[in-house]
Amino acid sequence: MSEQNLIIARQALLTPAELDENKLQQVIDRIMGHDVDYADLYFQSSRHESWVLEDGIVKEGSHNIEQGVGVRAVSGEKTGFAYSDEIILPALTSAAEAARAIAQHGQSGRMAAWQQQSVTPLYTPDDPLSVLTSEQKIALLREADQEARKQDPRVSQVIVSLAGVHEVILVTANDGTLSADVRPLVRMNVSVIAEQQGRREQGSAGGGGRVSYQYFVDEKKHLDFAREAVRQALVNLEARDAPAGTMPVVLGPGWPGVLLHEAVGHGLEGDFNRKGSSVFSGRIGQQVASKHCTVIDNGAMASRRGSLTVDDEGVQTQENVLIENGILKGYMQDKHNATLMNMAPTGNGRRESYAHLPMPRMTNTYLANGDYDPQEIIASVDKGIYAVNFGGGQVDITSGKFVFSASEAYMIENGKVTYPVKGATLIGNGPEAMKLVSMVGNDMALDTGVGVCGKEGQSVPVGVGQPTLRVDQLTVGGTSA
């Protein structure tokens, strides 16, 4: 099966430029002819399209083609990097010259023999964009628009978007890596505005994954997104001012797992820990969360948005237990940081494109199930917040401060959900907040496939998930003090 990806990648990336593995080996050998520990070549070609419906008509569509090669040379902690948007031998050679300039002349290394891994792909190699005709794509957008509008007369605006990417990558390295991946990624989104007596509120829902557009058609997902977006907007029309202050917070299942992504995920990326800049640095084996918390990053789940058959360094992805019953077990690593920390790579080496350097990144990050019934968790709170949908979050990995912003939340009073409150930002300190997780539900769910994670200017698709959980104290940033 992985043989098939390699054949597709050779044909798409190497053959048009009259390149083959021998020529790539020569380029790597030339880089290694200096004091270089590691070198890799990353070839990428991607085709992206998007369609947007607004005011009931499909107004815009775009099509984008991008391809290129990135060349990296590593010597100790030094990295040299150059890239070219032309996949031709002279461009590759000059990028290699630029990349190896970090190293002084010295002993020469040779590259190891190719080692092809046999990895079963986690998703179909077929072009996800071409399974539907343009007419069918437009019909999908229209159906979502109509579904949203017929839900409620208060719906005043509907925007529906459909986007798909088909990407082929091939990576070779002096350690013998020769690996390819063919990656589909699709996403649909519905956002609505509802109006009532001069008040306007928005709602938004969407999803997708490493599947083809057929996923939306088969499971009528686009209609679910439309109904969900309207439901959220209508809830927000009724929302009252959120409270301000520190109180118990119950987070719903699924997308609220952005808590884990911010509160612990980034802080467990290998680069920050090698540099000692993370609040979790040097804490392996220590209690960093309550005993109810087992946190996993897993890039090897079939068809998920954050999944990769192999990462962008050609390493097979896997399930990595980051925190087990509250004890810090390990970090997420790329090859560079794993080598410097004397650890093994974990399949978390990712890059936005050939024009960016890889670094340790999350894939699908989630909290494992606990024993509590979700209703029991809500019932345990006298006065607090129940937050079920979020915009996004941010973390300062050094101080541990993280925020995430609720877009749908409710008051809990005397163990009952009473009324919706306006969106508010929640703030906490990662390790402290995780130690205050006192109840974990048995309803673990992953998000619908909407996450984008940004780090040092690079965006990559990710997934998050969690069961319903209770944090005994978080600061809720409402206006009602």
Binding site: K59, G61, S62, I102, Q157, K401, T425
Partner: protein, 453 residues
């Protein structure tokens, strides 16, 4: 067809501008040949070097070279777009074809189309935006080392570094459309910066400082950048939490810029014609106190935000967005202008050098005026809702009493509504930060809800 445009002066650059212009003209010609009623095309190329040093050692040396082009075609009132990084003749043909294929399936939008020719820039000035910096990796490394050392030497509690960097970038932009407009210019952008970590009582904090300019001669000295980063991180140590309550707030110029940015977003065409902004139908109304004036100055020579014409080729000029607190102009491209039955404002692609008039006080003066409250130096998270104006973000800063900073504070949120915050803008400082297209000093806001412990 109705205008022909000649730049007043086009400075020579490292880029082959006649070849780049020819590519854009070729795209337009191919689109017309394939039957497009109208079209516009743009391209950009960019080259640069970025070097980072950490704890005195080279960490990365990156050579950047990027290019891309895009075309939008109109078949009557239908629209399609495509882009590519490949500038070969065959790729140009395929890209135009991809846009045409899309335009066959999109639906008639009566507002779609190129900007009316009368709004296009007939001539445009050389804004002195291009100052290439002949920087070798070795020179960059030396500079970054000095900056990082200055930061690390600032105080012995500074124990770690995320590194110091130097970048240089030069680029060339060309935009043309089937009205016959062809505009092009070179620009550059260089920066230096440094981020360090300090620890005390087993708690770490980090902070940074950076300088950004079109001309490397105008960059701040790296030693002073390092010292500022050091000063800032030390000031954060020993932060306390604060009690929930309502307080006056000074937003430091760096974060006040964000508040000005939310204003720009709220008065921009897209959110307005979708009724998705709290500034809908506010033209001609008092949205700030009477003292406040906000002006766009797109043609300031050498400024970071300057552009000789907007991204649709529209003539842009100095104009007022807010006068005496009254909203005078939205921020519109031609599509939004048609939707709103207004004229385009030269803001396709955004605003270029927005200035808010200051009240003559420096930051210390603003703190004196506030007397007791918070000075905010960092905000976190996405809690800004342009539809409703609701604002709720995480923040870090200092507690101020009797106009003097008392101690650092952290892990709290600030909440209000942007419409209220703009009305409660008591004073704007003269400590203007010009490192972006949004130029403002610090803001004193009458009252916000602070959630702490």
């Amino acid at each position: 067809m109705t205008t022909s445009t000649v730049p007043v002066q086009s400075a020579a650059s490292q880029f082959d501008n006649s070849q780049l212009c020819e590519i854009v003209e070729t795209l337009i010609r191919i689109a017309k040949q394939k039957g497009a009623t109208d079209c516009d095309a743009g391209l950009s190329v960019e080259e640069g070097l970025s070097v980072t040093v950490r704890l005195g050692e080279v960490e990365t040396i990156e050579h950047n070279r990027d290019k891309s082009l895009g075309i939008t075609v109109y078949l009557g009132q239908r629209k399609g777009s495509a882009s590519t990084t490949d500038f070969a003749q065959q790729a140009l043909e395929e890209t135009v074809q991809a846009a045409m294929d899309i335009a066959k399936y999109t639906e008639e939008d009566r507002y779609a189309g190129l900007v009316e020719a009368k709004y296009l820039a007939k001539t445009y000035p050389d804004l002195e935006l291009y100052h290439p910096w002949a920087l070798t990796p070795d020179e960059a490394i030396d500079m970054a080392r000095q900056g990082e050392k200055a930061a690390m030497d600032y105080d012995k509690r500074i124990t770690n570094s995320e590194g110091a960097y130097v970048t240089n970038h030069s680029g060339y932009r060309v935009y043309g459309n089937s009205h016959g407009f062809l505009g092009h210019y070179a620009s550059s952008r260089h920066s230096k910066g440094c981020t360090v970590i300090a620890s005390q009582d087993e708690r770490m904090e980090r902070d940074y400082w950076y300088s950004l300019a079109r001309n490397a001669d105008q960059l701040e000295d790296f030693i002073s950048i390092g010292e500022k980063a050091g000063q800032r991180v030390i000031a954060r140590l020993g932060a306390r939490r604060i009690k929930t309550g309502k307080h006056p707030v000074v937003f430091h110029a760096e974060v006040a810029r964000g508040l000005l940015g939310h204003f720009v977003r709220a008065v921009s065409g897209g959110p307005l014609y979708r009724n998705a902004s709290f500034m809908v139908k506010k033209l001609g109304e008092q949205v700030f106190p009477q003292r406040i004036n906000i002006e766009e100055r797109p043609h300031l020579p050498g400024a970071i935000g300057s552009a000789p014409f907007d991204s649709e080729g529209v003539q842009n000029r100095k104009h007022a967005l807010v006068s005496d607190g009254v909203l005078q102009s939205y921020v519109l491209d031609s599509y939004a202008a048609r939707r709103l039955e207004l004229e385009p404002t030269g803001n396709a692609g955004g605003v270029h050098n927005l200035f808010i008039q200051d009240d003559g006080l420096d930051l210390a003066g603003l703190l004196k005026q506030m007397n007791t409250g918070l000075l905010i130096t960092e905000v976190m998270g996405q809690g800004v809702n342009i539809v409703t104006g609701d604002y709720s973000r995480g923040a870090t800063g200092f507690w101020v009493e009797n106009g003097e900073i008392q101690y650092p504070v952290e892990e709290f949120t600030l909440a209000s509504n942007l419409a209220t915050m703009y009305q409660q803008l008591v004073a704007v400082g003269n400590d203007v930060d010009t490192r972006s297209s949004l130029c403002t000093g610090s803001w004193l806001i009458e009252k916000m809800t602070v959630a702490g412990n």
